[in-house]
Symmetry: D2
Subunit: 481 residues, 4 copies
């Protein structure tokens, strides 16, 4: 089963028990064939197919630190700073190949964060989480799982702590301790790729206090466990996917690939003890959140860079189609700065006590903080270069009627030798990336994925040694201290 | 007929001959009832209804300089710098009230630019355009017309001039001079509110040379003239309008109002002489383009400011709903800077030889240049404050099924006392403004409407007296000159 | 005496009793001949000389609202929005002509703010300040005074209120109430042009509470009053002024003009009642501060724009000297945006109950908020265009020795036909503007003059009607309110 | 001699033949005791002293790849990506310790670039430069030399090539080929630390064509060679150094450390063949310039980060002194982004054919491109936090007179418990960093050192694979290619 390809991955999804998925007011019968969901599954499938492509195997696969087997890098525990850098390079590659969110990073980042945190919990609390989690990782590697790293709770009133909410369920919590396991209730919002996953690895969403101990839970449940319901999130321009004609495809912009986010509701889901990796240890919530967040903030220095490459390419292409010679004001500078941040926090990573490698947490937060800004600027520049036609272009269905097709092709022509339909396709890709379905990932997710800007500001502030810097200034000014 | 209200306006559209409009691959039978088009008509109707609202009459109406009648300000020739400032204030008001493009500015700006340019052409060429145009303005005032100011040609290969294009029709041109008028052919792209208009006032799109004289044409044609076809432009998330349920309404974000852009094709449309205001005078194309552009760049210092007010309000509202105390990082500073630019180019306006007032062209270009940047920053900050839910929120149709409604309301709750549905409505408005249908106007149109950033850069460069500034520097450095 | 010229102004300074001025560890004997001080006096003198220049009289002079006489605009009470706009235009002109701070705005802004505030105090408290102040304004007009608007106290520990400070004197306060007047003690920091003034018009520095009533004082004292000491502030590169050779002149960059700031200490200075304009009315401190600040924040939309013009000119000139064709990336856009803000808050001004005109306070704060940013960007761009030579160029004294002169001229040559010495002069002007004496005014004063950015943010926040904006958003989202 | 300390370094400078140095119109007798020059020598001495400090030896020293000896890292040929990263860390450390430019990087970067380029020249031209250069490196290591990497020519008219200039000497050129060596003439501008060096390693300044072959020269000359003259560059506030009192020290801001730039003139200097490393091979000028520039652009990701740490520390300190609780808007984000760029181009370095390691050239250029922006923003934020007093504070000489000292201390007091003199010292450090002597390095040198922004833009453009990115976009839009 190790190292599935895309088709094997799709089959593995089919083997799950039927999921309860609501989308546009209806229960979805078959996720794999639903036109909206299909595109997001295509994207995940790419992470499997490229692992079999000899051009990319060195990026896409790794040797398991637990079994020695060749595994998909998305299931890998990072063993050194080269691994950390390769992760970023793999993410850039995938961003380039699909132009949207490929949904599998969050599980990889969760695996590494839970691995090191369970080790630390055991050291302090004498628990046995780490051994169980190691077993879980081996299963993940062997089954080549897509794991949904489940962190963000809906949170209700943000000015109140979990235990202070009117409805205690707006954060995932343990509602029952049983002899053989625990029962959890609540929901996780914004779950990337949730419906496309084999597993959910649930983590607490923020630092907890003693009174929040029932909220301090980390555990794994299969995607098809009893009691789980999925509410599929709408995305900008999602309805264009429902039109399966070729013309409709064009108006999708990126016809093959898309992202996915869901609200995942857990109504009294049972979890056996061997799949529970934190159970009330409030003192380690912060550590788990911070390390997961750091890994995941590193990730944005890869994936968004790859998608940024697509935007730069789209800018250059449409400039060429328009007969404008240069598109030099989309600058690689911006996207390579993000990449530098991704590489730097990787190169400066350090070994954890558990044995895997953790990114430099300060630099990883700096990386993500920049991601909350730069993609917006690239998207703005792309809109500048593209001209306004990508928001005023008639429907591709006009191309199905010979008479309207003639007119559209006549008047929307660009430089000689370029097929007008290709120009329209490129305009639609630009719409997709800046306003449409991929903009959700490239812009909004860049802002809020792996934590909002404020979360990074707080961590950067906490991790900066301001006292040491004050000493530097006082020494130079010759002030005794 | 003067000073229609919204309902009278809708009726006046019904009196037009049937238009040929293609939208999503089909010919539209009735524009006024089509769910996508209707929203854009609602927006234009607002410019009529508010003229009858006693709170806003001082902004919305003016006294005609030609007839002394009270007219809608959108038909007015500006008589002083107060008029210019009031125009900006009216546009801010309308942007606030509809949260999108209200489509009627381009006609107002065209009226004022053609008015002063025809006067100047007549002075040089001994023509009689100005008198004819004055008659046209009187009709516009009396009939309270929506005029589509028709400037942007499709342009084909941007590296070539009109007369060098493979297909001569990619710029609107005169194909025949008749005794009683002219015949034109070509198309105009990105025509805001085209289907909602009574008239098209066609202008050249750029400075012309002698060899481009057949392209140097300014004239007026009724929206329902023979030979005109409309290709309705797609907009982000447009299909959500096709779902007429209440739930669908919510997912529209701004259920009532929307914008509109079309590709308008003129296939051998006849124009009688009294409606022709330029016919080959290549030496005045540049003047017409520059003055129109300046008026229209001023406009953006009003309308986008008003929509910006909505974004600021949406940010504060969602922050309150989320239980986050402050949303202070959406700063009025940015939007008020744009407003200042709009006011400043108005306050510094000057009287033209024709008698109406022209904005300070340098400052008007500076205004629009800023508009190509600041709304993007406000939209980014709004996304920051909103949290990610506006792109991952389940469909409003989930609210129609009691069971899914219960879950959605339970988990998407914000602070106590706020109806979850209201929170969802606000999130959808935010999606509409930053990624959806209104983003087309607030972002892309801010970039390209009234000319792309490069167009403003060129004019700013041309209008800056760099020699004088060099002299200032040389004097201070005590360099003899 | 009305409408002095520069020489008459200098004579009027000579008529003052000797001031106690400390500069570089020594007491200054004669301010008018001191090389450092002289340059700042030259700058003020310009405000007198240009009032006699027929090219500029319409900007530089006004008709007194109190006497009907022609007066220098710096002594004028603004009578309409044209006056407010003309003020900004005058400031731009002066910034262009001297390339630094001309020091006289703060008095003009204080006159207008105290004028309207005394009227309001009298209305509430039944006091007679306004009549006395009117008399004072008439004297100011007739004597063509330079008035130092004295607001900023040293403030000690910023986390404490005036009455909580360890040393009560770190804010100016009334230490004695006498039958015929009051006695004040304390100091005012950052006093622009203090030594070059005829008068100090003292105002409170922030909103006061009841316990701070002795700090709620507004009054006027002559610059040569007993008990005043001046501590002259150092400026970047100030020592270059001490070298009076021609070569030294060159290295000054702007040989003729400079700014000035002082710490002004008031040690038990007596003020007769007719010169006291607030005496304990804590409820009006905030109003006085806010209106003065608004007038003064408007000012920055003029003066810094004028200096910005010099920077743009310097950039173009050095680019030409270097043989670089274009310096297009210094954009007028930035400086004209500031100007637009200055004009807009003027054009939107409103009449006060006292009769003079007050700027739109929201827009004036927006103006200054932008001034805390944009000049830094212009200075950065100027450094970009200039090349690095302005910080590595040998001393101009090398030009006095024929052998070193030959080498310097040989190797620092630019394009043919340009005197190398002129190139050096321009480089030194650029150093002056970006790092040297004028940078103090163009950069640091842009940041902190008329209040630091935080002060503007607070006022902008306070003056924005966020409730109204929330209503706009709720209406569009169809949320009942 | 290997691994000198600071005192040994100073002695080694004393052993040079007397240099001809002009400064402020006079020939300098003794560089080591001249107050202006001394500060810059102190800074270089730090690179020697810290190599003996056990806390820093791992950063400051390396094992020679040529001799196996422990050497100062500034003489080291990088052997792997760890070396490249350690270089950046060493530079950050030194920037922190001296708060200005420590002048020794340019030699290190020249050594590495010439090392790899001579190897490549020999491969193509069959020359023997590389062996000679290896010998030179061994001498540099053994003698622990400060090497001035001499690249920038004065350039005259920038629109003309070297051979087109009116005066052929404005670029360094070979004026004579002798049997035993060559004779060079010309000058190098902006030479950092020139007077503090043992050697000049001369390189061409740009890509050369065949007609420029006499300008294609790389060679080494001792700092005290016959025919060399130094023209010491002025720096902002340089004269404050001439006042050697304690009070004067305070006003220097950073009393101990400073930078240095000179115009170095070569008038027919003889260079023996074994010290010539390029002699007319125009085809390798570009390679030498690009690799040197890349190494040096990497350097800015270290040194400016270290100085940035000082600015952040100064901001926090002055905020504390002022009684302002938080200075959170100086964000580590900005400075850590630069550091990330420095680390990333190091971690992505590759081995050259010559054996040493070259940074990732694209990322190194991105690094420097960011350095041309971010320090300006940090400096602006520091000015914001500092308050305006650092530009209006009276002279420290006022502290020498008990009476004026009492007043200054009374009124410039900050929070209780902080010595006012310390507050003044910190303000002067801030002036030094933002407007004074260190601003030259932190701002202007950040702009122009290692090439102006335009140079980086060109290289980034050249190194970006835009075709590949266009293919990505076309694939996603399903356009056949």
């Amino acid at each position: 089963m190790t190292l599935m390809n895309g088709e094997q991955y799709r089959n593995s999804l089919r083997k799950r028990k039927p999921l309860t998925v609501f989308l546009l007011g209806e229960r979805v019968e078959d996720c794999l064939s639903h036109p909206i969901i299909k595109a997001s599954i295509n994207t995940v499938a790419l992470t499997y197919d490229l692992a079999h492509d000899s051009n990319y195997q060195s990026l896409m696969t790794a040797k398991s630190s637990l079994t020695g087997e060749v595994i998909n890098r998305f299931c890998h525990l990072h063993q050194n700073t080269d691994d950390l850098q390769t992760k970023v390079k793999m993410q850039r590659l995938l961003g380039q190949k699909c132009g949207t969110c490929f949904q599998r990073c969050v599980g990889m980042d969760a695996l590494n964060a839970v691995f090191l945190t369970t080790y630390e919990i055991d050291q302090v609390h004498g628990s046995v989480y780490h051994g169980n989690f190691k077993e879980y990782v081996i299963q993940a590697e062997e089954n080549d799982w897509v794991i949904d790293g489940c962190m963000t709770d809906p949170k209700g009133d943000r000015s109140k702590r979990p235990s202070e909410q009117s409805d205690p369920d707006v954060y995932v919590r343990i509602v029952e301790q049983r002899k053989d396991g625990i029962v959890i209730r609540g929901a996780k919002a914004h779950q990337t790729g949730a419906v496309n996953s084999h597993e959910h690895l649930i983590m607490p969403t923020l630092a907890m206090r003693n009174e929040d101990s029932t909220y301090s839970v980390c555990c794994a449940v299969p995607a098809d466990a009893d009691g789980i319901t999925y509410y599929y999130g709408r995305q900008s321009c999602d309805l264009r996917r429902l039109d399966e004609s070729t013309a409709g495809d064009i108006d999708c912009g990126n016809p093959l690939f898309g992202g996915q986010e869901c609200l995942v509701v857990f109504e009294d889901v049972f979890v056996p003890h061997e799949r529970v990796f934190m159970n009330g240890e409030t003192d380690f919530c912060s550590r788990l959140v911070d390390t997961f967040a750091s890994y995941h903030r590193q990730s944005y220095g890869g994936c968004k860079v790859g998608v940024g490459d697509v935007l730069i390419g789209a800018a250059a292409t449409i400039a060429k189609y328009n007969g404008v010679l240069s598109a030099s004001h989309i600058r690689d500078k911006i996207t390579e700065t993000l990449y530098s941040c991704g590489i730097a926090c990787s190169a400066s990573g350090v070994q954890t006590d558990a044995g895997n490698y953790l990114v430099d947490m300060l630099l990883a937060n700096v990386c993500k903080q920049n991601v909350t800004r730069f993609p917006f600027e690239i998207a703005r520049l792309l809109q500048d270069i593209a001209g306004g036609l990508f928001v005023t272009c008639p429907s591709a269905k006009e191309l199905e009627n010979p008479e309207t097709k003639r007119i559209v092709e006549k008047y929307l022509v660009g430089v000689q030798g370029i097929d007008t339909v290709n120009r329209i396709k490129m305009l639609r890709l630009i719409e997709n990336l800046t306003l449409g379905r991929a903009a959700v990932g490239y812009l909004t997710e860049s802002m809020h994925g792996a934590g909002s800007p404020q979360a990074q500001r707080i961590m950067i502030h906490r991790m900066s040694d301001i006292e040491q810097k004050m000493n530097l200034a006082m020494d130079l000014a010759q002030i005794d201290r």
